[in-house]
Symmetry: C2
């Protein structure tokens, strides 16, 4: 089957595993190339990896040559084409089935001027040939880590422009074994990432450059592998000798390798089975048996099996298809009225309303039954009722708790209010009073015992829950309670080549000073999230107690909803910071929680994706350094906004990096109060 490797740089999901075969470079020549293609097609591979050049092409280093030899001078002047002997890929035949590999004998960083120059010229000649053949993909060799990478990086960066339609995969071993013997496996794994990171930074994160990650028998730790999930890993290379043989004689992977491969399958990479043997036979010499009666490659079969038996995606994953790593503007429910299908989507969450129902039930059960003969009626006000799900929760909770309730449903969106009216007419009846009003300005006919709201955003307070509930708490009894009782915002420094590139495509500062709601996929957290601030409801802050109860004082301003935090993280390994991941945890009532913080995430809840705050210039973080995230939630009379800053410091050195303050005065993004 012919495939186009251009897919790799697009967001198109590859639906079944795409698997290629890579024989040993030295075993392939122009004579047996067609055997290789026939072999791979018979074995069911989707593509084949072949050297572009024959080993003899190494002659252009002219190592022992007279520097004035006419051949060398003509070649240096670019006046000598490839001879047929130089090439394995001599024609464009099967070019849609072949990925090329660039020769690994080149050494652009050699101390020898001639080797350096000739390596560069050879690399460019190969790139030009790849472009001429129209190959979709090309593999770039990984220079030994004992050598610098700077000139190679420059040559590659320049050569990328020769290849408008080809993606380049830098073939990186997952463990850089060329290091000194006494280094830890952790360091070997990080070294590979460091080499890639260095090359990528030199190339200015060119989107044509991706990674072909080669797994080995020894694998790096999860923490190290995690870095790769934030990188454009387009290919996983599996050498045949990484496979074990099961008791039926079939190749299988160890548990740990399975685990790692399964993790990468989510990113839909190409797979390459790299083999240490392939017969040097022409198509004529190739036994007919071998081609006609052969079965599919058992290694490829095994990878297809892993792909097929990937665990069924959970509710969140099903919901998330199409949303992964997609930048969305956060909702602005105060400024804009939500659409019906937005309500519809969120009402489907299987967990969120269970938790609300439980919270209301517990709160009702905790209320003392009046002993003075007064009727046992609890006034519940649902503020921001939308199409009514929290009203339903409240009614079910009351039934379960066996308590009487009088429910008010307050909603400002005229379109949602249509549904509420229908609900009252057809379902709720007298148990529910419906009110068309903004909760901040409503004059309530009585005071509430319980205020129920669902105004939280991915960052907790970013949909202005604090401001709305400030208004609503005016009609809450002094001993009344709010569900949610509080919410806490969490942040963590993160890497994501993909998200950063996507923001960069807008080519302006404003998009780097905006936060995005994103279903994270190709990201890596550099440290576990930490809390930066909290809001509690009802808001008793700064308000004096009046005979053991709290007095509600009308605030003239919104300064009490200003927050700031400066949080320090230790990054155990090195990494790049492309921005900040934001989450929230909320206590609805006592131990009834909602959370999208990874460590405490409510299982199965999908109503909120995390939030992403970018930085304009990514920051490199050395291992064991401290990352400081400064965040502010600020306000004026018309809007609320966030400002942020990321810096990095090292013990004994001080601050080594810092960004400017982003979104000063809310100049690029804010949430309107009206």
């Amino acid at each position: 089957m012919a495939i186009s490797f251009q897919q790799i740089s697009s967001a198109m999901p590859v639906e079944s595993a795409q698997i290629g075969y890579m024989p040993p470079v030295d075993n392939i020549n122009a004579e047996n190339l067609m055997s290789l293609v026939a072999f791979c097609q018979t074995k069911g591979f989707d593509f084949v990896v072949s050297p572009i050049n024959a080993p003899g092409y190494r002659r252009v280093l002219f190592e022992s040559d007279d520097p004035q030899s006419p051949e060398m001078m003509t070649w240096r002047a670019g006046q000598q084409a490839f001879t047929p002997e130089d090439l394995v890929l001599r024609t464009a035949d099967h070019s849609d089935y072949i990925v090329g590999t660039i020769s690994d004998w080149q050494n652009c960083d050699s101390p020898d001027t001639k080797v350096r120059l000739h390596s560069e010229l050879a690399l460019k000649q190969q790139f030009n040939w790849v472009s001429h053949l129209g190959l979709g993909g090309v593999m770039l060799p990984y220079p030994p880590s004992t050598e610098p990478l700077t000139n190679y990086g420059r040559v590659l960066t320049g050569a990328l422009s020769i290849l408008p339609y080809t993606t380049c995969w830098f073939k990186v071993p997952c463990m850089d074994e060329i290091l000194e013997r006494d280094v830890t496996e952790e360091a070997q794994g990080m070294k590979s990432w460091e080499r890639w990171n260095s090359l990528r930074n030199m190339a200015g994160s060119d989107s044509k450059l991706g990674v072909a990650l080669e797994l080995s028998g020894a694998l790096p730790s999860d923490a190290v592998l995690d870095r790769w999930f934030a990188e454009p890993v387009k290919v996983i290379v599996l050498p045949e000798d990484v496979f074990l043989t099961n008791n039926k004689g079939y190749p299988v992977l160890s548990k740990r390798h399975q685990h790692v491969v399964r993790k990468f399958i989510k990113f839909k990479p190409y797979f390459i089975i790299s083999s240490s043997s392939f017969p040097k036979l022409t198509l004529d010499e190739f036994s007919d048996d071998m081609l006609e009666h052969s079965f599919a490659s058992p290694h490829a079969d095994y990878v297809r099996y892993l792909h097929r038996t990937q665990e069924t995606p959970g509710v969140i994953d099903q919901f998330a298809v199409g949303y992964q790593d997609f930048l969305q503007a956060p909702l602005q429910p105060l400024q804009d009225n939500l659409e019906s299908n937005t309500y519809e989507t969120f009402e489907k969450d299987p967990i969120k309303y269970q938790q609300y129902e439980l919270a209301v039930e517990r709160a009702l059960l905790d209320r003392p039954i009046p002993t003075n003969g007064e009727p046992d009626i609890t006034v519940i006000m649902v503020v921001g009722a939308g199409r009514g799900p929290l009203v339903n929760c409240s009614l079910r909770a009351a039934e379960k708790a066996g308590r009487n309730v009088r429910v008010y449903a307050v909603e400002k969106n005229p379109n949602a209010f249509v549904t509420i009216q229908n609900m009252k007419a057809n379902v709720w009846g007298d148990r529910v009073n419906i009110v068309f009003s903004d909760m901040r300005t409503w004059k309530a006919p009585e005071k509430a015992d319980i205020l129920v709201s669902e105004l939280l955003g991915s960052f907790g307070d970013n949909e202005l829950s604090p401001e709305c509930l400030d208004g609503a708490q005016k009609f809450l009894k002094p001993d009344g309670i709010s569900i949610p009782a509080n919410y806490t915002t969490f942040v963590a420094p993160m890497a994501s080549n993909k998200l950063h590139s996507d923001v960069a495509t807008f080519k302006d500062l404003a998009h780097f000073e905006t936060s995005y709601v994103v279903m994270f996929k190709a990201i890596s957290l550099l440290a576990q999230p930490k809390s930066i601030w909290m809001f509690e409801h009802p808001n008793r802050t700064d308000i004096p107690m009046d005979q053991g109860k709290w007095a509600l004082v009308e605030q003239l301003d919104n300064h009490h909803n200003v927050r700031s935090g400066s949080i320090e993280f230790t990054s155990e390994n090195s990494g790049m910071i492309h921005g900040v991941a934001g989450y929230f945890e909320s206590v609805l009532y006592k131990d009834v929680m909602l959370s999208i913080n990874p460590e405490t995430h409510s299982p199965g809840m999908f109503s909120w994706f995390p939030i992403y705050f970018p930085v304009k210039t990514p920051l490199y973080v050395p291992a064991h350094s401290q990352v400081v995230l400064d965040f502010w939630r600020l306000t004026d009379t018309r809007k609320v906004w966030y400002e942020w800053r990321v810096s990095c410091k090292m013990e004994g050195v001080g601050e080594i990096h810092s960004t400017p303050i982003y979104n000063v005065g809310g100049r690029s993004s804010s949430i309107g109060l009206f």
Copy 2:
């Protein structure tokens, strides 16, 4: 005299010293403000520095207040204007004579939420008042270095937009004395710079933010002061107690202070004499004597004296007026024909042609006089003769050396050739043959003993001297010599807020990938320049010796003129890298040199300014870290270009910063070969 402080942010030179007076903050109130103005005008000050607010305004911190007090709530809501008692500057009277100071009791980084918020509100209220009064300048307090600066930085950054017409001077002590006692003076001086750098980076290098550097009795080392020369130091504050008293009773500065002040005078800052005493007297109470019979301030007089007696600018400085820190595109003499006044300018250099004359004379003297009866005639070819200055040098040298010469003057610029024709007709006569041709294609009638050229650019080879002389050396005898014999390129990491800002105004990548010829002024080298590569003429590289003499082989390509270098520097102190400074040294003949490398600069020579290679995002360099500069000189069949990259590494940590590779493939800037 009324002055406009907006001048400060423009490039307008201030012709005489502009000196202000700053009394102790606590001694000034609304009542004696007019005495102060009258006093300063009588004493000949150009402006006065006054607090904006009375000390009582500190009340808005409401430190011991009931948080629900109506006054506090109204103020927080922004609904309370300044009372007259809050203000020293109550009206816009004399606002063109007054610089305001922001109160220093504010603490935007207090751990107390209320103090933090109220400090921010107070600062904004003051900024709004400054804007209303239309003050031209305002001084910002320096928070104690024991405290963080992050929130202050954010508040200031946001507040700068309130002041469209006012420049803000962050008042920085040149030694931060609040550090622990056991730190070195070097560290105290660097700490001040670090604090400023931190604030500036948070504000994204806003051009409205400058420095008022306060000198003290103890001064930092020259290395530390050097950092400040790359910063926007707009004001030098001289406390009266820094002055000594000479034997006539007048205030004078120590030799070291004079030296430092003289260095800063070149940057034309404002000066402020800060006094520790000023009488709390109203204008009525002020003795008439004091105002009418007073003499000019002896401190101001002394500063004016230093200003007046600034050493006479040297030839270079005279020439440089108007060129300082001005970004110029390098010359492209191969692509464009130089204009007459460009030749005129360069021919005025008093040193360059002296050195050429000396080099030719020495070379002639070194030539053996023929003993075989052949005539003693040396063939000198001046290639790129321009309007003829090197022909004149050669003729004068021949006369001095007492040797016979036959001179050829080869020039490709038809306009310059008109002058050469006149010179031949009127001055040179038969001694000189004039040739209208590109030296690379000229078919010479005989071979030369000495090839003389002046094809050097600021970066040595950046005006394509190597390529031109490759062509010309075809008609050089095997034992002939080239003047210059070689040239070496030097680079150094540098800081310059000014140059970087100027490149940034173009708002594109291309201008960051271009080099600029600049007469450096407001810059600081982070380390001494080091050589990265050299060219020698005639070019014997890679060319086999033929019976003890070298054979000239026609090159088919230009790869032998490719160069690269990776040079490491140690930065003793911390600093910012805004780019790379480039220089050259050239050996004309034996010990006759030309140099613009600061350490060996040919005294009085002005023909070349240094060259500036910018980086897009400035890099912070911690003290004692290694800065690596990678440079490439690259070529194809049509052009020559440079690529560069800056990185920073630390021992035991590795690379902590790196830029992408700039100007890949010469995409943004190059020098045409035709």
